[in-house]
């Protein structure tokens, strides 16, 4: 499913959070959004998910504007994985994933065997089937985040949106999680913190700075020493790698000057 963002702006108490952002995410693409803290990534994500109404502009899925879609209909097409959504409820891993079926259930469509099958498949997909009976609060951060992805998959969406999904995970879980997402047959939009992860996994990257979209393209085109200095205010060496990707080494400004 294609996602179009057209001229999106968002303001909160007189402060512009996002200004005139436009892009198109192709069906099946892994689209990364990077930028420093406060650059408007999360605001942009929340507009793409229909959680916040843009002040101007529209988001559309395959040409259909989000504003015209009912919440339930939207939840069947697009699923969101938040940074660190947690609960104090004493629920099992499987119960958390079962929530993903919410947009399909109602008085006339109660829980059925099909829902069970979809939940089982989603848990298997993220490698969590063996932990389905475990209590949520006994699981690690990486396991919880996998379950959030399974919950999103249980929504049977066409688009998966992730807001810094790897925060607070160790490096093994970070790579594992992104690799898992990469291999899903979905359009993925992910706000990412780590530039190397963005370079490794994204087809294209959008770079945000102070609410504006300042660069958009394939990782090797976008992630240059100059852009990283401009946007993130750090010195870096970018090494080109195969397939249009690249890897980035950071260094303190002083040492770079000496090299």
């Amino acid at each position: 499913m294609r996602v179009d963002a057209d001229n999106l702006s968002l303001a909160s108490s007189g402060h512009m959070l996002v200004r005139d952002v436009s892009f198109t995410v192709a069906s099946g693409e892994f689209f990364g959004i990077i930028g420093p803290n406060g650059s408007g990534k999360t605001s942009l994500i929340s507009m793409l998910c229909g959680l916040r109404k843009p002040r101007t502009g529209t988001v559309s899925l395959d040409g259909e504007p989000l504003a015209g879609l009912a919440r339930r209909a939207l939840a069947r097409r697009l699923a969101l994985v938040e940074q660190q959504a947690d609960t104090s409820e004493r629920m099992t891993a499987r119960q958390a994933v079962e929530l993903g079926r919410t947009p399909y259930l109602g008085l006339s469509s109660p829980w059925s065997g099909l829902d069970d099958a979809i939940v089982d498949a989603a848990m298997g997909n993220v490698g969590m089937a063996h932990l389905s009976g475990r209590q949520w609060h006994t699981l690690s951060g990486g396991e919880r985040q996998r379950l959030h992805i399974a919950r999103a998959l249980a929504q049977a969406p066409k688009v998966l949106v992730l807001d810094e999904p790897t925060n607070h995970l160790d490096i093994g879980h970070q790579i594992g999680l992104l690799d898992l997402v990469r291999h899903l047959d979905l359009t993925v939009i992910a706000a990412l913190h780590d530039l190397n992860h963005a370079a490794m996994f994204c087809d294209r990257i959008a770079v945000m700075k102070a609410g504006r979209l300042v660069a958009l393209g394939r990782p090797a085109e976008v992630l240059t020493t100059r852009l990283i200095r401009d946007v993130f205010d750090v010195e870096a060496v970018v090494d080109a790698a195969e397939g249009g990707t690249c890897s980035i080494r950071f260094a303190p400004a002083r040492r770079m000057a000496a090299e």
């Binding site: 998910c49 409820e89 065997g113």
Partner: protein, 341 residues
């Protein structure tokens, strides 16, 4: 496997209803003058199903006019307060939320007292309407304060504490300023929860409110499930968050207001019963809501019976009994939660 699960659920539901009926039966039989169980059953049969068992008029009168109406209202009240507790705790994602902590009960008391003692509304509005208005005003104030304080779940509890204190102070102010000694004593007793004045007309208010409240909450059971990971998560699961919150909070405010106007503000039921029920049946609201309603109803009937027999020859305010048992139970539940985290 599916059939056995359905049979199990049906069995549990029947068992719970039977327990509720048993509690109602006990509640009507036990009191200052103990009345044999068969007399209670025969009275109910006479009055409800037109049977004609010969009974002593005085026994039948006590059971029908005083005891049965009283236990039914106690049950409705326990059910409504527990439901409110479940809904508020899930919606606000805070284990401390209940109508009492959030100031709704305090506001209802102020509203009731303003009508009863100050004569607000010039006799045009009754005590229940006054309590309802007070509950709504208190909740709006607490919500606004919480929004200003930053929306978090701690903010709403702090705002609730502030609101409760304010409305308790207003209630005390009205009572000490305007009431004579006798009125003041009566109101103070009422504020701690008192079922002695309850008669059948109160049942015709309490029962529909509790049942309608249960149905409305049950209709939103899946939405409440979806709140487990917060508002944004619920919205991304297709829940119309604002509408659900307005409906459910209005429903809890209505239930609380009506119950407080009938029996005074009774604490700890809305706080403890939801936690205890979650430990029994889990977190799915489709099961949790009716279970909490029944457990709350039974708890309240038991508390009412205790309030009548704990001190011979004297009726304790029921709020005292619910707090005496509720506070230690809450402490126990909280420490268990901690241990398992």
């Amino acid at each position: 496997m599916k059939h056995s699960r359905i049979r199990l659920a049906a069995g549990a539901a029947l068992g719970a209803l039977a327990a509720l009926l048993l509690a109602l039966w006990f509640g009507a039989a036990i009191g200052e003058t103990a009345i044999p169980f068969d007399v209670v059953a025969k009275t109910a049969a006479n009055r409800l199903f037109g049977a004609s068992y010969p009974l002593a008029a005085i026994d039948e009168g006590i059971v029908w006019s005083y005891r049965l109406s009283r236990v039914v209202v106690a049950a409705c009240c326990g059910a409504a307060l527990s439901l409110s507790g479940v809904v508020l705790q899930s919606l606000l994602r805070n284990p401390l939320a209940d109508p009492y902590v959030l100031g709704i009960s305090a506001g209802a008391s102020t509203g009731a007292v303003s009508v009863a003692i100050l004569g607000l509304g010039g006799g045009m509005i009754g005590l229940p309407l006054g309590a309802f208005a007070g509950a709504v005003i208190a909740f709006v104030l607490v919500s606004l304060l919480a929004l200003r304080a930053g929306r978090g779940s701690a903010a709403i509890i702090l705002a609730g504490v502030a609101g409760s204190q304010l409305f308790h102070a207003l209630t005390s102010f009205v009572v000490t300023k305007a009431a004579n000694a006798e009125q003041a004593r009566g109101i103070m007793f009422w504020l701690l929860g008192n079922l002695s004045g309850v008669r059948w007309p109160d049942v015709t208010l309490a029962l529909p409110v509790a049942l309608v409240g249960l149905v409305i909450c049950l209709a939103q059971a899946r939405a409440l499930d979806a709140f487990a990971f917060g508002k944004e998560s619920a919205a991304s699961l297709g829940i119309p968050v604002r509408r659900v919150m307005v409906i459910l909070i209005a429903t809890t405010a209505m239930m609380t207001a009506v119950m407080v106007s009938l029996v005074g503000s009774i604490g700890f039921v809305g706080l403890v019963i939801p936690h205890a029920t979650r430990m029994l049946v889990g977190v799915r609201h489709g099961v949790l809501l009716p279970a909490a309603a029944i457990v709350g109803a039974i708890f309240m009937i038991a508390a009412d019976v205790l309030s009548r027999i704990l001190v011979p020859g004297q009726v304790l305010p029921i709020g005292v009994v619910t707090a005496l048992f509720g506070a230690p139970a809450f402490a126990l539940i909280m420490s268990q939660r901690r241990a398992s985290l």
